[in-house]
């Protein structure tokens, strides 16, 4: 039972970050390798909050969202927007360079925090609070993570399908040039879109240190799982990514638990993610979404 709750928590956190990444990919056609670093940034924002205020990191959600959102926004404005005419591979490389810079900055911050502020900033974890629910005694994470994740994703859905901004975002995602022709300010729409996806990543980052030890380069640890979720979910499908996150989250949690005795757990997650990616691409490249999506219209 506890395992189930763990799986749900992990999956919800994964979902937040992956859906954010998926949003980026759908709207701007960029495979952003720096996305995982926004998550870590969120974790550090939470750390800073906790260290300076002494309050529980759960309260730092807005701060982390802001940090992640700003980082993503700056990434868009400074890197991906100016480079928008380049090909996919070049943009990927640019995002790798960006990730490198962010991680290095985090490293410098960690050094500074440790030496000048006395904050333990490498390999840190958060201690969880216990909560009484019904007759059961639960860890706060297993309640907070799924709840936050669910509400944010519902809000995102409402944003996309019930608001004018959502229409703009979907239009720009489909055809940015046409949107421009119709007078839509594409840059502003994309800026908002990136901010949102970064904010989601930042929020995800708050929950991670409750289970994993976080360091400035923890991004690479998460990135593969994120891409696995996006790949399995299917191109351009947020719902697919959501479902895939849960599938992968559950599998990862179960596997790590089941094989923890063998001492290979560190390699397990990347290995699983790798297998998921390869298998999906070889067997069903359109991902889960390919199963329920109908064939596209026949415009040239």
């Amino acid at each position: 039972m506890e395992l189930l709750l763990e799986a749900v928590s992990y999956s919800s956190v994964l979902a937040l970050a992956s859906v954010g990444l998926s949003l980026c990919i759908i709207t701007t056609k960029v495979d952003n390798f720096a996305h995982a670093d926004y998550v870590v940034l969120g974790a550090y924002a939470a750390l800073l909050f906790k260290a300076s205020s002494g309050l529980t990191p759960y309260l730092s959600l807005p701060l982390a969202a802001l940090a992640g959102g700003l980082a993503a926004l700056l990434s868009y404005l400074l890197v991906f927007e100016p480079l928008r005419r380049h090909g996919t591979i070049t943009l990927m490389i640019a995002s790798m360079a960006l990730g490198l810079v962010i991680r290095a900055l985090l490293q410098l911050f960690a050094d500074y925090a440790q030496s000048s502020l006395g904050i333990f900033a490498r390999g840190f974890v958060f201690r969880d609070i216990a909560v009484q629910l019904g007759g059961a005694r639960l860890e706060m994470l297993t309640v907070a993570a799924p709840l936050t994740s669910l509400s944010l994703l519902v809000l995102l859905y409402l944003l996309l399908f019930r608001t004018r901004l959502g229409i703009r975002m979907r239009a720009v995602a489909e055809d940015a040039e046409l949107a421009e022709v119709l007078g839509i300010d594409v840059k502003r729409t994309l800026s908002l879109s990136w901010f949102i996806s970064g904010a989601l990543a930042g929020v995800a980052g708050v929950f991670l240190p409750f289970r994993f030890s976080i360091s400035p380069d923890s991004g690479s640890f998460i990135l593969l799982s994120l891409f696995a979720a996006v790949t399995l979910g299917g191109l351009g499908s947020l719902t697919g990514t959501l479902v895939a996150s849960y599938l992968i989250g559950f599998t990862e949690t179960m596997l790590v638990y089941g094989l923890s005795g063998l001492g290979v757990s560190t390699a397990l997650r990347p290995l699983l993610a790798f297998s998921v990616i390869t298998l999906t691409l070889l067997l069903q490249p359109r991902g889960l979404a390919g199963l329920w999506r109908t064939e596209r219209g026949a415009l040239p």
């Binding site: 591979i89 640019a94 960006l98």
Partner: protein, 356 residues
């Protein structure tokens, strides 16, 4: 460190980077596909040296290995080196075998890994390759028999017979390898094979009509690129005298990509220039570390500088230091736009108009 040995040091490092950059350029520049698992093949070369040099040496000396690999590799590496100092042929033999194994293993691995994945869309191919290289690293890290796990493995000095001149001799070997790599690269890119490669890069559709030959060509190129990377790996292992799995991270692949982008793609001098640029920057930064005492860790600063330089180059001088020479290539969007079709940036294409 004397000036002479400092120079030799920098030059050996340069040749390693230059060969890596050439191999990456072969794939990226000619095929349009960067090999994001480059460090894995580099590692295969280095691991061949690490895993085999001491063991091979012992075998040739008719001795047997006692104890686990992890614990004893350093001891036996030194022992073999002492024997090599007396018997140059031993060194040559070890080096030859290591090279053959490195090149073959790397080429085979290259083909095996890329065969199922070449069909993938370029960005997914990239992710898969990166994941693969991480798996190689983690495997080597966890299985001590390969290169001693986190301990690392000692590499027997196959140039020990040169006594004090062992590093210059290594340099000569390295330069020779670089020269041959360059020659191979030039032959390939100016030949018909090279032109076909470039047309594959530039027009996937035309390439598809060529059918199965495309895959064969691509695999050949990747096999070659991997083999070159392995040679660089051997040189690197000999230079370091030791091999450690954690030295072969995805970051190194990225550095090689950076060299190619900075130096300029689609031409042979580009990677050489890029490698030179990186080596200079790298050495300058580590030099600065000794001279200036700043409160910031210079390694991280270096990453920031590298990352920002790459982004800046992409933004303001995407063709790199030494741009590709004609034939005239027009961006696909340009030509398709002219023809009134909708551009789909997802496909790896450029339309190619030759100015003959």
């Amino acid at each position: 460190m004397s000036l002479e040995s400092a120079v030799v040091d920098v030059l050996v490092l340069y040749t390693v980077y230059a060969i890596l950059a050439l191999s990456m350029e072969l794939e990226y520049g000619e095929l349009g596909l960067p090999n994001f698992a480059k460090v894995a093949f580099f590692a295969v070369g280095a691991f061949s040296a690490g895993a085999l040099s001491a063991r091979l040496g012992l075998m040739l000396l008719g001795l047997s290995w006692e104890g686990s690999f992890k614990e004893r590799s350093w001891y036996y590496a030194t022992l073999v080196a002492r024997e090599v100092a007396r018997n140059p042929l031993l060194g040559v033999a070890i080096l030859s075998v290591v090279l053959v194994v490195a090149v073959t293993a790397s080429a085979v691995l290259g083909v095996l890994v890329t065969y199922p994945t070449l069909r993938l869309r370029e960005d997914y191919l990239a992710i898969t390759l990166i994941a693969f290289s991480e798996i190689v690293r983690v495997t080597a890290r966890n299985f001590d028999a390969i290169v001693g796990g986190t301990f690392g493995a000692g590499v027997a000095d196959v140039f020990a017979w040169a006594g004090g001149a062992r590093y210059p001799v290594l340099l000569l070997f390295a330069l020779g390898s670089l020269a041959s790599s360059y020659a191979v690269y030039r032959r390939l890119s100016t030949s018909r094979y090279g032109r076909v490669l470039r047309s594959i890069r530039d027009d996937e559709l035309a390439a598809l009509t060529l059918g199965r030959d495309v895959w064969k060509l691509r695999m050949k190129t990747l096999a070659l690129g991997s083999a070159l990377a392995a040679v660089a790996g051997v040189i690197y292992a000999l230079y370091m005298g030791a091999v450690s799995p954690d030295d072969f991270t995805v970051g190194k692949t990225f550095v090689v990509v950076m060299m190619v982008v900075l130096g300029g793609r689609g031409n042979p001098l580009g990677p050489l220039a890029g490698a030179a640029l990186y080596t200079l920057l790298d050495k300058a930064l580590s030099f600065a570390k000794h001279l200036v005492a700043i409160p910031l860790d210079i390694n991280y600063l270096a990453y920031i500088i590298f990352g920002v330089s790459l982004l800046a180059v992409l933004r303001w001088r995407p063709e790199g230091l030494i741009p590709e020479k004609p034939p005239l290539t027009l961006r696909r969007e340009v030509v398709l736009s002219y023809l009134g079709e909708k551009e789909d940036r997802r496909t790896p294409c450029k339309l190619f108009i030759q100015q003959f």
